[in-house]
């Protein structure tokens, strides 16, 4: 069985944000009003995180795109009182919107701050409602949502594979963010498959994970930027 994971090569990533946009479009992520966004209620399953070091002129800023880490040891699911967030057998940490009671415990418990809450009933404007992805269910007021590793794509791939009597393997499915990345900085695949490029990259010397020492065992790896010297 596959264990899905992601590798983001920070040396290649240009911080362009295409992954952010692709994710919003793919997953029917709602827009909140500017006033609400200002209060910190915008929803962005993929988000850019900046690590700023130094001062002018020796400043260095690292930009890291951050989806859900799909931790193998996820602190978020341990606390959910109703099994509304769970880890499936392929390692994807999912959300059951119809069961979530909106206690936001998982939000408080996620060290990566990747969970988002629907503070209001999402208001879809004409321009967004028309372009809804029919494969992804819409979330309602009062529930938590987050990156699902584009789970609906996995389901489709599974259906296809099953029709052929096979299992889903590395390369059968990829996420919207990985698909769109102009520099191909994001690679997505089966971390347990020895032939998988993603698995290979995740074992590279440059590979690290966010807040690794927490023991959450994220399945999103980053490859560090190259040596800077001129």
């Amino acid at each position: 069985m596959a264990r899905w994971g992601m590798v983001v090569d920070l040396d290649m990533c240009t911080g362009c944000g295409a992954c952010i946009a692709a994710c919003k479009e793919e997953n029917n992520v709602a827009y909140v009003s500017p006033e609400e966004a200002e209060k910190g209620r915008a929803i962005s399953w993929m988000q850019m995180v900046n690590f700023v070091e130094g001062e002018f002129p020796n400043v260095h800023i690292k930009y890291m795109p951050r989806p859900c880490m799909h931790c193998d040891n996820p602190p978020c699911i341990k606390v959910c009182p109703v099994h509304a967030t769970f880890k499936d057998e392929e390692g994807i940490v999912g959300q059951i919107y119809e069961r979530c009671i909106g206690c936001r415990y998982c939000m408080s418990a996620c060290p990566y701050t990747v969970k988002y809450f629907n503070w209001f009933e999402p208001e879809w404007t004409e321009s967004t409602i028309a372009s809804m992805n029919p494969d992804v269910s819409l979330r309602k007021k009062g529930v938590v949502e987050k990156c699902t590793f584009c789970h609906h794509r996995l389901q489709k791939a599974r259906d296809k594979a099953r029709a052929k009597g096979m299992e889903v393997v590395d390369g059968d499915y990829t996420t919207a963010c990985a698909d769109t990345c102009p520099t191909q900085a994001i690679s997505f695949g089966d971390l347990d498959d020895p032939n998988s490029n993603t698995a290979r990259l995740s074992k590279s010397k440059r590979a690290f994970r966010m807040l690794e020492d927490l023991g959450t065992e994220p399945k999103v790896f980053y490859l560090s930027e190259g040596e800077k010297n001129v």
């Binding site: 606390v79 109703v82 009671i101 206690c103 408080s108 418990a109 701050t113 503070w119 529930v143």
Partner: protein
């Protein structure tokens, strides 16, 4: 039906039988506040939790703060009363009832708070349908339910003889007392059963109470968040709970003493004893606070330190230092000095502690969330009108609960006071004599 002996404790019955205008006025004001709060809650239900000041990353605010706070206050009652009963502290007699009432009311209020906080209260039943036992939130539901059940029963049982007194006096509404008195006749058998029940409950209730607040602390400490992930949170929360509970009890006692003219029942000595207990708890609280932050500081884990400085010198510094003042310095100064350890001083110190303990809950819940580990901009949390209204509503429910209770039931246990008068001196003397060392170390017979 008039029983002359009841004149003896008439001050305890008077407020039940002669309802003054003040009662109605108070009720109207409180109900108004509660209705407004209800309105705001319904509005929140309709619109969504967006009407609060919560956001990403500050997902929890007033509702959770007040939840922890109210549940903490609830420890005043049953726990203190049980400990006092268990230790056969004779001075407990006029106090236990009030303490128990606090528990029952405040626990109900506190227990409702997580529901106020839910995005989908309509799906509350999911907790039973698909409950996940590993979640501290589920432990909470269980332990709070248990505590609530135990403490209402624990309040009710010692109330039965008093209800019977009212029934026998023919106090209105008759049906109420008739119904609730459970046919109490005061027979020896009934007395024995009652006493048995009380003593079983008082032993049971102590671990339940301790578990309740320990489990609440687990909500936080079971996560990895900086400022939360701490092993001493269990005892720390329990100590804080008892601490705030005693303070609340003192305030309630002082209030009733004044309003119902109970100077004859609640004497300086009661306040003195309780306030010394308060002082001890203050020192204990400080000890825990100190160790909590000192270990955090020495660990010097960067994320931990972000939260640490946020509290010590950052945006939450005003609250933090007010808390230290209210919970430690102020009670220490007032209560360790005999001259200020008088009712006004005790009242001031208790109020300080209640405020301080509320601040402590705020300081535990919010700063850890405003300072996420990843370098997002610092979160901002400004509670909204809705949250303030519901806070005011909760406080009003508390006061209203008390006012209504006092309207129908004696706030001091009449029969226990009487029993005290009849038996206490003899029993205590016997007891003391029993453990006084005998002269020349002779073995007692």
């Amino acid at each position: 039906m008039f029983d002359a002996t009841d004149y003896e404790d008439f001050p305890l019955i008077e407020p039940i039988e002669n309802t003054g205008k003040a009662f109605y006025r108070t009720v109207v004001v409180l109900v108004a506040v509660i209705v407004f709060a209800l309105f705001m809650y319904v509005r929140q239900l309709r619109i969504g939790l967006g009407v609060t000041g919560l956001n990403e990353p500050v997902a929890w605010g007033f509702y959770i703060v007040n939840f922890v706070f109210f549940i903490g206050i609830s420890h005043a009652g049953t726990l203190i009363s049980a400990i006092l009963r268990l230790s056969k502290a004779e001075w407990r007699r006029p106090i236990t009832r009030m303490a128990e009432v606090i528990t029952a009311i405040v626990l109900a209020i506190g227990g409702l708070h997580p529901i106020l906080d839910l995005g989908r209260p309509d799906r509350m039943m999911n907790i039973f349908q698909s409950g996940r036992l590993q979640s501290p939130l589920l432990w909470d539901v269980t332990s709070i339910t248990a505590y609530f059940t135990a403490s209402t029963v624990y309040l009710y049982l010692p109330l039965i003889p008093d209800i019977a007194i009212l029934r026998d006096r023919g106090t209105k509404p008759k049906w109420l007392y008739e119904f609730l008195s459970w046919n109490w006749k005061g027979t020896e058998y009934q007395k024995k059963v009652l006493e048995r029940a009380i003593s079983i409950l008082m032993v049971m209730v102590i671990p339940i109470a301790i578990s309740v607040h320990t489990v609440i602390s687990y909500i936080f400490s079971m996560t990895l968040q900086p400022g939360w992930h701490s092993t001493i949170f269990g005892p720390y929360f329990v100590v804080g709970a008892i601490f705030s509970g005693i303070a609340a009890l003192l305030i309630v006692m002082i209030a009733f003493r004044k309003v119902f003219h109970l100077e004859g029942y609640l004497k300086e000595i009661h306040f003195s004893y309780l306030s010394i207990l308060l002082l001890i708890m203050s020192l204990l609280w400080f000890y825990f606070t100190f160790s909590e932050y000192l270990t955090g500081y020495f660990g010097h884990e960067p994320y931990e330190m972000k939260v640490f400085w946020y509290k010590f010198a950052g945006e939450y510094a005003p609250y933090f230092w007010t808390m230290i003042f209210c919970n430690f310095l102020f009670p220490l100064i007032i209560l360790s000095n005999k001259r200020t350890r008088k009712i006004p001083g005790i009242l001031a110190a208790s109020c300080g502690v209640v405020v301080g303990m509320w601040l402590e809950r705020l300081i535990i819940v919010v700063p850890s969330l405003t300072n996420p580990r990843l370098p997002y901009p610092q979160g901002v949390y400004i509670p909204s009108l809705t949250e303030w209204s519901l806070f005011a509503g909760a406080l009003s429910v508390f006061v209203l609960g008390f006012v209504l209770f006092a309207k129908f039931f004696p706030v001091i246990s009449i029969w226990e006071v009487r029993e005290g008068r009849e038996r206490a001196v003899r029993e205590v003397t016997e007891r003391i004599e029993s453990y006084l060392p005998t002269p020349h170390g002779a073995k007692s017979g």
